[in-house]
């Protein structure tokens, strides 16, 4: 009897040890707290220190790069941020490989023991943030490379990512800034289909049509409203504002109970925040632009997770069956050991709630036509105002700013 107890405890301890690796998430929580407190550099330092001390398990490496990349972007360290997102993209590409050892472990414990490959939405946003960072680092050609990778993700999961319009706008902008006008024209036309009433997008589409000498150029010119046309100075300078705001969604564990067994699966919850109006004004207080292309990260993340939902539930059901059979098998030999194992399995049944939590609640792209000699732009978000200083010499290329509220 003692021997049997020993075995049961050893088995339970082994499973617990495997699962307790999830405690490494404490490092992420600490770094995120620092980030939310307005110290992104401190957040990055905590992550780097943890990596140095081997506190970040290999299965969480993607999360490490995603969180680190976003914090670096927020700190204005754009080249470093872009590098982190490129590292993340490399890991994401490995998602189709199935590891038998990971699958076996996750059947006995939970999905925390598997490598995290990111939700479909997070994969797209990794490329989106890479584009943003490359654009801000003045590496437009690299942003265009990321734009192509983002297009591949959009093509792979068209329904799940249908409303990820900010990413589409970034794709078009990246191609435009890299001077790859054929691709920019295609991207802008696609974006215009989704936002036919956004006049500045018609202008962007018209401009790329001119660059590729499209037969539809005059058609696009007719779509640009006269007041928008008049808003641009003769050389057509404009500012592009990449604005992120609020806190993104978090994953929580939801459960279904059946007697003394439970099935757990992840679900997204939205951080409570009111939708605040955004506007851009010139020096005289004239409103130049309001919201144009915007993405609600909760909505996209939820749709993307639902698309993967059937797979997640099927896996949870299979895990439940495996655990049930193991306890049943042990119960015939040792009732007490079976009860302990059942309890351990019950406690271990925890949904994988890893997610890229430093994401904002909203991603917005604004294109603002600039008048001759305009020096400043004031961006208002609720009661907060930020004044941006413009470079009057930069006329041919849009002036791009990245802001967070």
């Amino acid at each position: 009897m003692a021997l049997r107890w020993n075995r049961a405890w050893r088995c339970a301890c082994l499973i617990l040890c495997v699962s307790l690796g999830g405690c490494a998430t404490a490092v992420f929580e600490e770094a995120r707290s620092q980030y939310y407190a307005g110290d992104p550099v401190g957040g990055v330092a905590l992550l780097d220190q943890a990596k140095l001390e081997d506190q970040i398990p290999g299965r969480d490496t993607l999360l490490f790069h995603l969180e680190r990349g976003l914090m670096l972007h927020r700190a204005g360290l754009y080249a470093e941020s872009a590098k982190a997102f490129v590292q993340a993209s490399i890991l994401i590409k490995d998602d189709e490989r199935i590891s038998l050892s990971e699958q076996a472990t996750s059947l006995l414990s939970n999905d925390w023991s598997k490598r995290y490959f990111g939700e479909y939405s997070e994969r797209l946003w990794a490329h989106t943030y890479a584009m943003m960072s490359f654009v801000m680092a003045d590496e437009a050609e690299s942003a265009a490379v990321e734009a192509r990778q983002a297009l591949q993700v959009l093509e792979s999961y068209p329904e799940a990512l249908e409303s990820a319009t900010f990413s589409r706008a970034m794709i078009a902008l990246s191609f435009e800034l890299a001077g790859q006008y054929n691709d920019a024209y295609v991207a802008y036309r696609r974006l215009h289909q989704q936002f036919p009433d956004a006049p500045v997008l018609a202008m962007a589409t018209y401009r790329s049509a001119v660059q590729v000498a499209s037969e539809e150029t005059s058609n696009w010119r007719s779509k640009v409203k006269d007041d928008v046309w008049a808003g641009y100075a003769s050389e057509g300078p404009e500012a592009v504002l990449l604005i992120t705001s609020g806190r993104g969604p978090r994953k929580v564990s939801a459960s279904l109970y059946h007697f003394n067994e439970r099935l757990s699966f992840p679900a997204y919850v939205q951080a409570p925040q009111p939708h605040t109006a955004l506007s851009v004004r010139d020096d005289a207080g004239k409103v130049l632009a309001t919201e144009q292309v915007s993405t609600d990260t909760f909505s996209v993340a939820q749709t993307a997770l639902s698309e993967r939902g059937k797979l997640v539930l099927a896996k949870a059901a299979l895990r439940g069956k495996v655990k049930h059979e193991l306890v049943k098998g042990l119960r015939d030999n040792d009732q007490a050991a079976a009860e302990v194992l059942s309890l351990v399995f019950f406690l271990l049944e925890e949904a994988d709630t890893r997610s890229w939590q430093s994401l904002p609640a909203r991603l917005t792209l604004l294109r603002v036509p600039l008048a001759e000699g305009q020096e400043n732009l004031t961006v208002s978000y609720g009661s907060r105002d930020v004044t941006l200083r413009l470079n009057p010499q930069q006329k041919k290329r849009p002036q791009v700013f990245s802001l967070h509220f």
Partner: protein, 202 residues
């Protein structure tokens, strides 16, 4: 007892074989060898493409009509692929092949800012007798420029044991007469590669 000893020995042998199999190794590889771990662009592709295009330029164009060696400036090859490829390596290789052939002279675009800075420094601090003269830089007769593109095809998601990927690369290179704007030479080097990776692993 005999069986137990044999079983133990077999276990030790299997473990040893496993560890040897997993041991890290390092070896030198010839730069001329073709080594492809996957379908992606790598050093042997860069070499093959650069050699093909430099060879084509040397064999098909004769620009020595005026008796002087034409001066060329090489612009960066635009990367229009979906990979972060340093195209500077391609242009460097092409420039090197053309320089070695001895039929062209080159001015450096990448060193332009450094040249200006050095000249400025010499004007301010240098011995007047050894100063590089301002306004004496060679003007290029031709621009070498190009674009690297790729097309990727992945197998549809379905039940399978291997993941196949097909990648096609093309590098278009052209030579433009700086005075007339005429494209006096253009060529393309292409390569296509299919790779297959097992989806299931340990």
């Amino acid at each position: 007892m005999q069986f137990k000893r044999l079983a133990n020995m077999a276990l030790i042998a299997a473990s040893a074989a496993l560890f040897v199999g997993c041991a890290a190794t390092t070896q030198n590889v010839s730069v001329d060898s073709e080594v492809n771990y996957d379908a992606r662009f790598d050093f042997s592709d860069k070499k093959r493409i650069a050699d093909a295009l430099a060879g084509s330029l040397l064999n098909t164009v004769d620009l020595s009509g005026s008796g002087k060696k034409p001066v060329m400036v090489v612009y960066p090859v635009a990367n229009e692929t979906s990979e972060h490829i340093s195209t500077a390596g391609i242009t460097d290789d092409i420039q090197l092949s053309l320089l070695r052939a001895g039929r062209y002279r080159f001015v450096s675009k990448t060193q332009r800012e450094n040249l200006m800075a050095e000249q400025k420094h010499q004007q301010a601090e240098g011995d007047p007798s050894s100063r590089a003269q301002i306004g004496k830089q060679l003007g290029a007769d031709f621009i070498v420029s190009g674009t690297l593109r790729s097309i990727e095809k992945k197998q549809q998601k379905q039940w399978r044991l291997n993941k196949k990927e097909l990648v096609y690369y093309s590098l278009n290179l052209e030579l433009t007469d700086l005075s007339s704007g005429e494209i006096v030479w253009a060529d393309v080097a292409e390569l296509a590669r299919e790779s297959s990776k097992p989806i299931i692993g340990w």
